[in-house]
C-alpha cells in the first residue's frame, strides 16, 4: 500500500469535496426539475388551497397579475373590439346566468325597434351573430355566447344593461389575452375601466357575487 503524503491527502480531499458539491447541486436541480413537472392533485389552481405558496410553474403563472375590465366602470364604447392587439379581441362578452331573466324580448339580443321577436339577422343587435337564442319554455329563452364569433364590441352588454338585468358583461378572456405589459385597450379606454388584477382572481363582475361556469378563467399566459 502506497503511503500518501500530506499534500496528496489534501489534494484528494479537495477534489472529493468539489465532486460532492457538484453532485449535490446536480442532484438538487434534477430533483427540482422533476418536482416542477406536473401537479398531481388534478384540480385547477383556483380551487386549490395551496395555490398561494405552491412552486409548480402553473401555480406561479396563476399568481401573476393580469389585465381585467371592471364592468362597473365600462361604458361600452366599442373600443375593446378595435384596440386589442389581437384580432378578434381578447375581450369577450360573458353571461352571468344567475342574473339573467331569460327574457323573450332581450335588450342584448334584439335591436330596440324590433317588432317581431325572431332570430332574423335584421333583428339582431350583435354584428357577428355571436349571441345565440334558444327556446326554453314559454316565454323563456336562453342566450349563450359563441366566443369564437364574439369581437367584444359590447353592444349586447349595453342593451342588456339598459333594458334588462345587466347579466351580459365584458371581460378579458385569459385563454386568449397575451397579457401585454401595456395593454393597448387600457391605454385607449375612455373610462379607465382596465386594471391589473391577481391572476388567481381574474374576474371582475358586477351585480352578483356568484360566478357562473362560463366565467371561470382557464389559464394565465405570461
Amino acid at each position: 500500500m502506497k503511503i500518501q503524503n500530506r499534500r496528496d491527502f489534501l489534494d484528494t480531499l479537495v477534489r472529493g469535496g468539489f465532486l460532492t458539491i457538484i453532485a449535490l447541486v446536480g442532484g438538487g436541480l434534477i430533483l427540482r426539475s422533476r418536482k416542477s413537472g406536473n401537479c398531481t392533485l388534478n384540480i385547477p389552481c383556483d380551487n386549490c388551497l395551496k395555490a398561494d405558496e405552491c412552486s409548480y410553474p402553473e401555480a406561479i403563472s396563476f399568481r401573476q397579475t393580469v389585465w381585467q375590465l371592471d364592468p362597473s366602470k365600462c361604458i361600452q364604447c366599442g373600443r375593446c373590439a378595435t384596440n386589442c392587439v389581437l384580432t378578434p379581441s381578447a375581450v369577450k362578452c360573458v353571461h352571468v346566468y344567475a342574473m339573467c331573466g331569460y327574457c323573450d324580448l332581450c335588450g342584448g339580443y334584439f335591436k330596440p325597434e324590433t317588432r317581431t321577436l325572431n332570430t332574423g339577422a335584421e333583428n339582431q343587435l350583435c354584428p357577428t351573430n355571436a349571441l345565440k337564442r334558444k327556446f326554453v319554455e314559454d316565454p323563456f329563452f336562453e342566450y349563450t355566447i359563441d366566443e369564437v364569433l364574439c369581437i367584444g364590441c359590447g353592444k349586447c352588454v349595453k342593451g342588456c344593461g339598459a333594458f334588462g338585468n345587466g347579466s351580459l358583461q365584458l371581460q378579458v378572456r385569459h385563454d386568449r389575452c397575451v397579457n401585454c405589459n401595456q395593454c393597448s385597450i387600457a391605454r385607449n379606454c375612455p373610462s379607465g375601466a382596465y386594471r391589473r388584477v391577481p391572476g388567481n382572481k381574474p374576474s371582475l363582475l358586477k351585480g352578483y357575487a356568484k360566478e357562473s361556469p362560463s366565467i371561470n378563467v382557464k389559464k394565465v399566459q405570461v
Binding site: C77, A81, D104
Partner: protein
C-alpha cells in the same frame, strides 16, 4: 439685389413652413373617430315635447338613505318607506312624523282608516300613523319578495315577485286565494317577473289590475282570480312598454286612467282606461340614466307623485294648464 431677393424668399418660405408646423402642433385637434361598434341609444330617449302634458311643481327630499315605496293616505299625507323606516309628510312636503322599521319596507300602502301596510321582506306589517304595530302576518313560501300591496275595504292584496303570484287576504290576514298562477286551462298565462318590479292596484270598479312586466301588459282580474282583460305591448316607442320587463309601477288617476312608469327608458306616462296612450308625465331627460324603481301614487287632487330612488326625492307633477286664446 439678387441676393437680397433670394434671402427674402428663403425667409418667407421658412416662415410659411414654421406657420404650418405650428398650426399642426398647436391648433389642430385630434380627430375623434366614431366607433362603428358603439351602440348609440340617445335617440331612443328623445321624446316629443308636445306630448308632455304635465309639469313638475315640487320636489322634496326624505331623510332616508334609500327610498323604496310611496303612498298617500286619506288625509293626502305622503308616506315614504325606505331603508331605515317610514316618514310621513304633509301634502306640501313638510315632515310630520318618522319612525324606524326593523328592515326596509319595499312597498307601502294605506287603508281608509289611515293604517299603514308595509311589505317587509317576508311578512306584512300593519301599523298606525304613529308607528305602533297593529298586526303582522307571514308570507307563505321561501324567499318571498313583496313588491306591492293594495288595500280595499275588505281585502289586502300583496304581489310577491319571488313566487310570481298575488295573494289575496282578508283584513285579519287569512289567505283567501292566489291570483295569476299559470293555468293554461283557464287561459291564465302566469306572471313573468325577470326583475323585482311587480306592481298591482285595485280599480274603482272592484277589480284588481296586476302588471305582467315580462309580457309588457297590465292584466285585469276579478277577486277570485279570473283573468278578464289585458292591454299593453312591447316597444321603445312612446305608446309601448320598453325593455325586458315593464311597466315597473302603475297607479290610477280618478277618471280611471293609468299612470305607468318604466325603467330602461325612464319615463312616466298616462294611458286611458282602455289602454290607449294619452300623454307623457315625465320624459327620460327628467331622470338620471339607469334610474329604476319609480314608484307612483296619486293624491286626491290628481297630482302624480313620483318616487325617484336615484335622486332620493319625491317629485310632484300636475297637469299643465292649457291657455285658450280668444279668436276674433
Amino acid at each position: 439685389m439678387k441676393t437680397r431677393i433670394l434671402i427674402i424668399g428663403a425667409v418667407t418660405i421658412l416662415l410659411v413652413i414654421i406657420i404650418f408646423m405650428a398650426r399642426d402642433l398647436f391648433l389642430t385637434r385630434p380627430k375623434i373617430e366614431s366607433n362603428p361598434f358603439e351602440f348609440e341609444m340617445d335617440d331612443l330617449k328623445k321624446s316629443d315635447s308636445s306630448q308632455i302634458a304635465y309639469q313638475e311643481i315640487k320636489q322634496f327630499k326624505p331623510g332616508l338613505s334609500e327610498i323604496y315605496g310611496i303612498a298617500v293616505d286619506p288625509l293626502d299625507r305622503v308616506l315614504v318607506s325606505g331603508k331605515e323606516g317610514v316618514e310621513i309628510f304633509t301634502p306640501e312636503g313638510i315632515i310630520q312624523n318618522r319612525w324606524p322599521t326593523e328592515d326596509g319596507a319595499l312597498t307601502i300602502a294605506t287603508d281608509q282608516k289611515g293604517n299603514i301596510y308595509l311589505g317587509m321582506p317576508d311578512h306584512i306589517e300593519i301599523r298606525d300613523s304613529t308607528g305602533r304595530l297593529i298586526k303582522t302576518w307571514k308570507i307563505p313560501g321561501e324567499e318571498p319578495i313583496i313588491t306591492s300591496i293594495a288595500v280595499t275595504d275588505l281585502f289586502v292584496f300583496a304581489a310577491d315577485a319571488g313566487r310570481k303570484v298575488v295573494y289575496r287576504y282578508d283584513l285579519s290576514g287569512t289567505l283567501l286565494n292566489r291570483i295569476g298562477e299559470k293555468d293554461p286551462q283557464n287561459s291564465i298565462p302566469g306572471f313573468i317577473v325577470p326583475s323585482p318590479y311587480f306592481d298591482l292596484a285595485p280599480d274603482r270598479n272592484g277589480f284588481i289590475w296586476i302588471a305582467n312586466p315580462g309580457r309588457h301588459e297590465l292584466e285585469k282580474y276579478n277577486y277570485e282570480g279570473k283573468l278578464l282583460s289585458k292591454w299593453g305591448f312591447a316597444s321603445v316607442t312612446v305608446d309601448g312598454f320598453c325593455g325586458c320587463c315593464n311597466p315597473s309601477h302603475f297607479t290610477f288617476l280618478h277618471d280611471g286612467s293609468f299612470v305607468t312608469s318604466e325603467k330602461g327608458i325612464e319615463r312616466v306616462k298616462v294611458y286611458s282606461p282602455q289602454g290607449d296612450f294619452k300623454c307623457i308625465v315625465a320624459a327620460p331627460e327628467s331622470f338620471e340614466e339607469g334610474t329604476r324603481g319609480l314608484d307612483l301614487t296619486v293624491d286626491a287632487h290628481d297630482r302624480i307623485l313620483v318616487l325617484d330612488p336615484v335622486r332620493k326625492n319625491i317629485r310632484i307633477f300636475v297637469k299643465k294648464v292649457v291657455q285658450k286664446t280668444d279668436e276674433r
